[in-house]
Amino acid sequence: MTAKLSPAEDSKVTDKAPNTAARIADELASCGVKLVASLPDNWLMDVIETIKRDDRFIHVPVNREESAIGLCSGAYMGAMGSVALMGASGFMTVIYALTKINYTYEIPLLLLATLRGALGDHHKHHVSNGLYLLPVLNAISMPYQVIDKPSDIVLVSQCYRHTRTYSRPMVVLFTRDLLRGSHS
C-alpha cells in the first residue's frame, strides 16, 4: 500500500512545513491517543517517524491495514486511545473491517489517511483513489475531514473526540500540500 516517489518528484516539494508532523503528534497526544498502528504511505513518513520517536505513543507497524482496525478496536475496549494511520489505498481495503466491527458494535475509531489522487498527486496509480475514495466514504456514511493547511491540524483532536460521541469511525484525510509542502 506504499507508493514510492521518484527523486525527481521529491525535488518538487519546496516548502514543506517542518513542524507538521510534530503538530499532528501533539494533537493526538492532547486527546489521549497512546497507540498508533500504521502502514506507511510516502506522504506519511514524517508523521510515522515522529510518532516512533515520541515516548507519548506506542507505535505498532502492522502487516496490513485491516490489522490496524482490529488492534485499535480492541484497544478501545481496554480504554486505550488509538489511531490507525494509513494511505488512501490501504483505507480502501478496510471497508469490511470497519463495517463489520466498528459499525456493528459501534466502536469508535479515528483513522488518519492520505487524500491520494487529488490535485497535486502526480501518480497515475492513485487516479482510482481520486475517483472513488470520497464516494466510497459517502456510500458507507462515514464522516471525513479534509485537512490541507497547518492551521487546521487542531481539527484532528476534534475529530477524535467526535468518534467517541458518535460511537463510530471517521477519517481525517491529509493533503499532499499539508504533508509534503506546496509545489514549485
Binding site: 496490513r64 482490529g70 480492541g74 486505550m80 460521541t165
Partner: protein
C-alpha cells in the same frame, strides 16, 4: 478431537480469563459450553481479526489475561497477523488457532491446501517461541498448566486440531446478542475488573 468437547475442556480450566471469539464456529461453541454473556466478546463476522482485537485489549490492559479463538479459515486470510503478534509479544495473550481444515461457518467448505498447512511451523517461522499443538483432549488437559503459566515470557500460540462441526453442531445457537449490547456488557465487565473508563461519555 471433537470441537465442542475441546472447548468444554478449555472452559473447565478457565479462571478469570477474558475471551474473544472469531467469526465462524468458535463463537457458537464457546456460547454453547459457557453461556458467558459478560466476560466473552463474540467478535462475529470479523474474518482474521479476532486476535488483533485481542492484542489491542491485551496491550491496553496488561493485568487482564486474554484468550482469543480463531478458526484456521480466518487465519488463512491473514497469517501475517502473527508478525504483529510476535512484535508485540504480549505475555497476557493466548491465541488459540482452531484448526478444522474447513470454513466451518460456510457449510464446511474445504480450505486451500488443507492437508499440508502446518500452522505450528508457520508460527515458529515468524519467531513465535511458545507454540503448542494438540490433537486430543487428554494431551490438552495434561499440558494446560504450561499454556497458562503465570510467568510466561511472551505470547502463546496454541493449535487445536479438531473435527469440523457435524450437521447437528452446525445448528448450535449463535450468541444471542446485538453488537452494541455486547459491547456494553463486555465493556462494563472490563471496567469493573480493572477500574478503567472505556465509554467515558455520558448523556
Amino acid at each position: 478431537m471433537n470441537y465442542v468437547e475441546c472447548f468444554r475442556a478449555i472452559a473447565r480450566r478457565r479462571t478469570n480469563e477474558i475471551i474473544i471469539t472469531s467469526a465462524g464456529n468458535s463463537g457458537q461453541a464457546w456460547w454453547s459450553v459457557t453461556h458467558d454473556s459478560v466476560a466473552s466478546f463474540y467478535l462475529d463476522a470479523s474474518m482474521s481479526l479476532s486476535t488483533m482485537f485481542a492484542s489491542g485489549l491485551a496491550l491496553a490492559q496488561p493485568e487482564l489475561k486474554i484468550w482469543a479463538f480463531m478458526g484456521d479459515g480466518a487465519f488463512c486470510m491473514n497469517p501475517g497477523m502473527l508478525m504483529v503478534e510476535r512484535e508485540l509479544n504480549l505475555p497476557n495473550l493466548t491465541h488459540f488457532l482452531v484448526s478444522n481444515r474447513v470454513y466451518g461457518a460456510t457449510s464446511n467448505a474445504g480450505l486451500p491446501n488443507l492437508n499440508n498447512n502446518d500452522y505450528g511451523a508457520i508460527a515458529r517461522a515468524m519467531g513465535l517461541e511458545r507454540v503448542f499443538e494438540f490433537s486430543s483432549i487428554d494431551a490438552l488437559e495434561r499440558q494446560f498448566s504450561v499454556l497458562t503459566a503465570a510467568n510466561a515470557s511472551g505470547h502463546t500460540f496454541v493449535v487445536l486440531e479438531v473435527d469440523p462441526f457435524t450437521d447437528d453442531e452446525q445448528k448450535l445457537e449463535q450468541p444471542p446478542f446485538n453488537g452494541t449490547e455486547l459491547k456494553y456488557r463486555f465493556g462494563r465487565h472490563v471496567e469493573g475488573m480493572v477500574g478503567c473508563d472505556i465509554f467515558g461519555y455520558r448523556i
